[in-house]
């Protein structure tokens, strides 16, 4: 299963959109936070987990998904949200805590919800697993189309929710795919120090389901393996576990000094940045000209700029609206 030219263009442009978004968020996040870094200050307060470097996973998987399909995302959700088609203006506004945000400022960057594209988040490690299985169960019971994808990090594969949900999804043969973004670090703890197996896809054997490992943060390979797993789920053949080797070019969160990384690791990762790598391959294979890729990038940049402008210009929520929307 190989991506069409059109899909490749979408994948590249979506990766660029996500990266441009993170670069701008990074810059704005630091406003008001220097010389003294205080997380509570600036136009974007609170924790901020950027997804730079992990874009191939989001686009390789979401290229196969429609609006009706369900995604549950993590505390690091921007690339996944953008690839799933979450409204970028309202997403940016939510990250700024504005009234026009996806949830009017109640959620913030770790709690992005867009019912229009069946996208939900949880800031708690592995806790998107259960809701993804439940969404898949709902589709199966109602006989409605749609699969559910739970994105988690490699650290989440050591959580009880991961094990409980994989077993449940397997025993009920649910149309669910668990995609582990292995960025090698659970905040400051290396995967090898926290995880009893070298690669988490082998854990699929414990649930009697297929497991795949994809090396190299490669959008083409991710597209291919995810496509097979999603087709399998759509056909009623049950869940699949996929682990993808990826990496984060940012810290765990903004303000992370990353002293735990071995010397030279960051430089080596930047040399493997998946976005220039994809551009190079697209040009080399002749599927896109440099000019066409420039145009895709410009369009992505304009979309991000517009979203940021929308967020900046939007009004703050009314403080007393904090007391609303607790119940349906």
């Amino acid at each position: 299963m190989q991506p069409s030219r059109e899909t490749l263009g979408w994948m590249y442009q979506t990766m660029v959109t996500s990266r441009r978004f993170e670069v701008i968020i990074n810059k704005i996040y630091m406003e008001g936070k220097s010389p003294v870094f205080n997380m509570a200050n600036g136009p974007i307060p609170g924790e901020m987990h950027l997804s730079d470097g992990q874009e191939p996973v989001a686009v390789g998987v979401c290229a196969h998904l429609k609006a009706e399909d369900i995604v549950t995302a993590t505390h690091r959700p921007h690339h996944q949200a953008i690839a799933k088609g979450v409204d970028l203006n309202r997403m940016a506004a939510e990250i700024f805590g504005k009234a026009t945000g996806l949830s009017g400022g109640r959620g913030g960057h770790m709690h992005l919800f867009d019912a229009a594209v069946n996208f939900a988040c949880s800031g708690i490690i592995a806790q998107g697993m259960g809701p993804a299985a439940g969404g898949a169960l709902s589709r199966k019971m109602q006989g409605k189309p749609g699969v559910a994808v739970a994105f988690i990090g490699e650290g989440a594969a050591n959580q009880g929710a991961f094990h409980e949900t994989m077993n449940l999804a397997a025993v009920w043969k649910l149309p669910m795919i668990c995609v582990i973004e292995d960025n090698a670090w659970g905040i400051s703890v290396a995967k090898g120090a926290s995880t009893s197996v070298e690669k988490n896809h082998v854990r699929a054997a414990a649930y009697g389901i297929p497991g795949h490992y994809i090396a190299g943060n490669d959008p083409w390979k991710i597209y291919e393996v995810a496509g097979e797993a999603i087709a399998r789920a759509r056909a009623g053949d049950g869940p699949t576990l996929i682990e993808v080797e990826t990496f984060r070019l940012a810290g765990h969160f903004m303000g992370d000094a990353e002293g735990y990384r071995p010397e030279g690791e960051k430089a080596a990762l930047f040399a493997r940045d998946p976005i220039p790598a994809m551009r190079k391959r697209l040009e080399a294979e002749g599927s896109f000209t440099a000019g066409e890729l420039d145009a895709l990038e410009a369009e992505a940049g304009a979309k991000v700029d517009a979203a940021i402008r929308f967020a900046r210009e939007s009004a703050d929520p009314k403080p007393e609206d904090a007391l609303t929307a607790v119940f349906a």
Partner: protein, 335 residues
């Protein structure tokens, strides 16, 4: 009335679920031992036979997994009824309850609703010790985003269940084991009352004055209501007229019914099988004090579970539990 049909709470719950399942295909039940066995406490008996195993699902012993799944199914248009066999087991799955179920409506700004019911058994008195006997009313009622109900009788059990299933917000439905009508747990006969056959709702957030009185208000929920009613009967002989308020819901809390009663009687006793401190009893007393227009004739009292884990030995557990004698003694001191 002798010809009226009486049900146990367990049967009343099952009847409400069955009636809603007949009219709403999105309603389904899942939990441990709720299908073949009909629930350890009898509240899902008969459902598997009528609705089959697609809609009546035995789950693995994976509360985090299946309660999380219920959240996802509810967000996707289903109305799951989920059972947490003993409320004490909340320790293995509370994240799915209070971080997902209770918060996703708010965090999504109403984008997603989570219309699910989490049924869970509460209460002790049968020497099951501290991991199978708690009430934990206050623990659940404290956290915003979930409605909390607990019936004291079969009529309310059916009506509250029907209302809970139809509610678009998550509802914690706490049923007291001692009121279920399961012979092996002992049972409170006063919980078995007339239950109409047709479906009906008991409004969530509305307390009931279950006995009129003029001298003292006794506020409680679930099993405590029966202690209060028995105490009230005993107090008649002493010339003390006790009013009994059955809260029925903890969230939303019907503060006005409590206040109206205490305005009339000027005295307040709260009976709470949950722990003494930081709980429902303190909240009820604060509700009366904050009203501003109520002058108590004597300090409020609470008959609650002492702040200790629940012991096994019969004499120790019974020493700790609220009962009618304790309530009556407190009323005599106040009046």
């Amino acid at each position: 009335m002798e010809n009226e049909r009486k049900l146990t709470i367990a049967r009343a719950m099952a009847e409400a679920m069955a009636q809603e399942m007949r009219i709403d295909p999105t309603v389904f039940v899942m939990g441990e031992d709720i299908a073949e066995l009909g629930g350890v406490f009898g509240n899902t008996r008969g459902l598997l036979t009528e609705f089959g195993k697609d809609r009546v699902r035995d789950t693995p012993i994976s509360e985090t997994g299946f309660i999380g799944a219920a959240v996802g199914a509810a967000q996707d248009g289903m109305r799951p009824l989920v059972e947490l066999m003993f409320v004490d087991f909340f320790g293995v799955c509370f994240d799915a309850i209070y971080n997902l179920m209770a918060k996703n409506t708010y965090f999504s700004g109403g984008n997603f609703n989570v219309p699910m019911v989490l049924m869970t058994s509460t209460g002790g008195g049968y020497s099951d010790a501290g991991q199978h006997s708690q009430c934990l009313y206050g623990s659940f009622a404290h956290l915003p985003g979930m409605k909390v109900v607990s019936p004291s009788n079969a009529y309310d059990a059916k009506g509250l269940m029907t209302a809970a299933i139809r509610d678009n917000s998550p509802v914690i439905y706490m049923y007291h084991k001692g009121l279920q009508g399961m012979g092996w747990l002992g049972t409170e006969a006063g919980a078995n009352v007339h239950v109409p056959e047709d479906a009906y709702e008991v409004e969530i957030g509305k307390a009931a004055v279950v006995r009129q009185g003029t001298d003292v208000t006794i506020v409680s929920i679930a099993m405590g209501v029966h202690h209060a009613l028995k105490a009230a009967k005993a107090l008649e002989a002493d010339g003390i007229s006790a009013e009994v308020v059955d809260l029925r819901s903890l969230v939303p809390l019907d503060r006005e019914t409590v206040r109206a009663s205490v305005r009339k009687t000027g005295r307040l006793i709260v009976v709470d099988e949950d722990y003494h401190s930081y709980g429902v009893s303190g909240e009820i007393i604060a509700t009366v004090c904050e009203a501003g227009d109520i002058t108590l004739k004597s300090p409020p009292r609470r008959i609650a579970y002492p702040d200790v884990p629940i012991p096994f030995a019969r004499v120790m557990e019974q020493y700790c539990l609220p009962n009618a004698d304790k309530v009556a003694a407190a009323a005599r001191e106040l009046c």
